[in-house]
């Protein structure tokens, strides 16, 4: 395929696609959530990939929702995508988390790949084939720090081959492409990383270990030996440190939080329904009345907190776009702003992961035995187990340390109303 033909194809795609509004996309996500909900217990019980929900996402063309319209996507804002994640999470937490993780990869290519012909062509493929993207950032002997790699790109005649021992690649086996971190070249230090886009036909996976977990059992986040080969254009031109700060981290923290909010909301709705049934035709309120008020108060706070971070991230995206349009140098952008937004995203992750768990624990008290049993309309055991992953996905202990470190840079950290 030569370059002009690619450009033409992209332009045609943009014209032929029917643009959907945010509310249309949310309706589509609700239809997917209904499918996901139907299989959520089986997915959980068997720790299997939510194939039905993912097929429904593909049919509703949700995988390209965040891709800009000029590349054939719906151009949905981050806040819009957050609402899709929230809606999906009310059906099946694993399915919603898979969708959120996919979008954290999409944004890396959208933000940092569009000047590379291969990457532009891949974006068009993502739209037309509704590709599901996964990520291989962790590596054995490196610990949980995704900002360092052991494996390295070794370009010979513009081609590379890498091998990575990844302790976890969520839904790797079922993905259509994996974004892989590696050191820039064989002599580069561990922190000098790049991000490689590896489509299905360019990699092989050998599963190592199992995924028999407390919750989020459908994400199938087994360890793998990944071997990928390809050409230089598959490597995004921006250093991974910048991709992570500007794109991957803001999107993953906000969308994970959206998923957790959605899980907590579904549990709270069950508690609310149970409470209404219990109160019906009785002269006095059930003893759990205060808990229900507290749960809904907390959910409202979580939603407001999440909206604040979404607005911050969108403002930062707009500022970067403006700087790019003015051709002003990123080196002169104030670090205080980027440190501030990183600290905010950390605090968002801490706040929502803890509060969401608390909501479900309280909901369990409201529903009592009906909530504790796994086979009632008020069961919240799966919600509770799924949400126990929230403080662990990038450990809150590590995030607290990191946040305190970032707060050192700020002379006044609380901000104002």
């Amino acid at each position: 395929m030569n370059a002009p033909a690619q450009e033409l194809e992209v332009a045609e795609l943009a014209q032929s696609a029917i643009l959907r509004s945010e509310s249309e996309l949310i309706e589509a996500a609700k239809r997917v959530a209904a499918v996901a909900a139907q299989y959520a217990d089986a997915v959980d019980r068997e720790a299997r990939f939510p194939a039905e929900a993912v097929a429904a996402m593909r049919k509703e063309r949700l995988f390209s929702a965040m891709i800009p319209t000029e590349y054939g996507g719906d151009g949905l804002s981050l806040t819009g995508v957050a609402r899709l994640c929230e809606a999906l999470a009310q059906g099946c937490a694993s399915s919603a988390m898979i969708y959120a993780m996919h979008q954290s990869q999409v944004v890396c290519i959208v933000d940092h790949g569009v000047n590379v012909p291969w990457q532009r062509a891949f974006l068009a493929r993502m739209v037309s084939e509704q590709l599901l993207l996964a990520s291989a950032t962790s590596e054995e002997n490196i610990g949980g720090n995704m900002r360092t790699s052991a494996c390295a790109v070794d370009l010979v005649d513009n081609a590379f081959r890498i091998e990575k021992l990844a302790p976890t690649i969520s839904y790797g086996k079922y993905s259509d492409a994996i974004l892989v971190t590696a050191r820039r070249h064989p002599d580069a230090p561990p922190s000098d990383q790049v991000l490689i886009v590896a489509p299905r036909e360019t990699f092989t996976l050998e599963q190592r270990g199992t995924w028999d977990t407390l919750g989020m059992r459908g994400t199938c986040s087994e360890g793998h030996r990944l071997v990928a080969s390809g050409i230089a254009e598959q490597i995004l031109p921006t250093p991974f440190s910048k991709i992570a700060d500007e794109s991957m981290l803001p999107v993953s923290h906000t969308l994970w939080s959206s998923v957790w909010c959605g899980i907590a909301s579904d549990a709270a709705n069950r508690g609310h329904q149970f409470f209404r049934n219990q109160a019906r035709g009785k002269p006095a309120l059930p003893p759990s009345a205060a808990r229900l008020s507290q749960v809904l108060t907390l959910i409202k706070m979580m939603q407001a907190r999440l909206r604040e971070s979404l607005a911050n991230v969108e403002a930062a995206q707009a500022e970067r776009a403006a700087r790019k349009a003015n051709q002003s140098n990123d080196d002169d952008a104030p670090l205080a702003a980027s440190i501030g937004i990183n600290a905010d995203l950390n605090m968002l992750k801490l706040a929502i992961s803890q509060s969401a768990l608390h909501v479900v624990q309280e909901t369990l008290m409201i529903c009592g035995m009906a909530g504790y049993k796994n086979d009632t309309p008020f069961s919240v055991g799966r919600h509770l187990r799924d949400l126990h992953s929230a403080p662990l996905m990038i450990s809150n202990d590590r995030i607290e340390l990191n946040t305190a470190n970032l707060l050192l840079a700020q002379r006044a950290a609380t901000g104002t109303i």
């Binding site: 900002r147 230090p189 922190s191 000098d192 080196d331 952008a333 670090l335 205080a336 970032l406 050192l408």
Partner: protein, 83 residues
């Protein structure tokens, strides 16, 4: 002053390579300087030279090399002494 700056970088910057192997103009980010480490470098510089680095000067460019740090410290010492 560059001696003090190099000592601070050795103690706080957690670079991938020893600071002695870098020239004054070499890129510290390429040597593995992270945004977390810049915070510690900033605090150590403020402490060492008795200055306060204003937010508008806190940029990637400031931390890009020993030279860029030295000229900023120089400028701030002069302006804050005059104030």
């Amino acid at each position: 002053m560059k001696t003090e700056l190099r000592r601070i970088l050795a103690e706080s910057a957690r670079l991938d390579v020893p600071i002695d192997t870098l020239a004054d103009g070499d890129d510290l980010y390429a040597a593995g300087l992270s945004s977390l480490a810049t915070v510690h470098v900033m605090l150590a510089i403020e402490d060492e030279f008795g200055i306060e680095i204003p937010d508008h000067m806190l940029t990637r460019r400031l931390f890009s090399s020993v030279d860029s740090l030295a000229s900023a410290v120089d400028e701030l010492r002069r302006s804050q002494a005059a104030a």
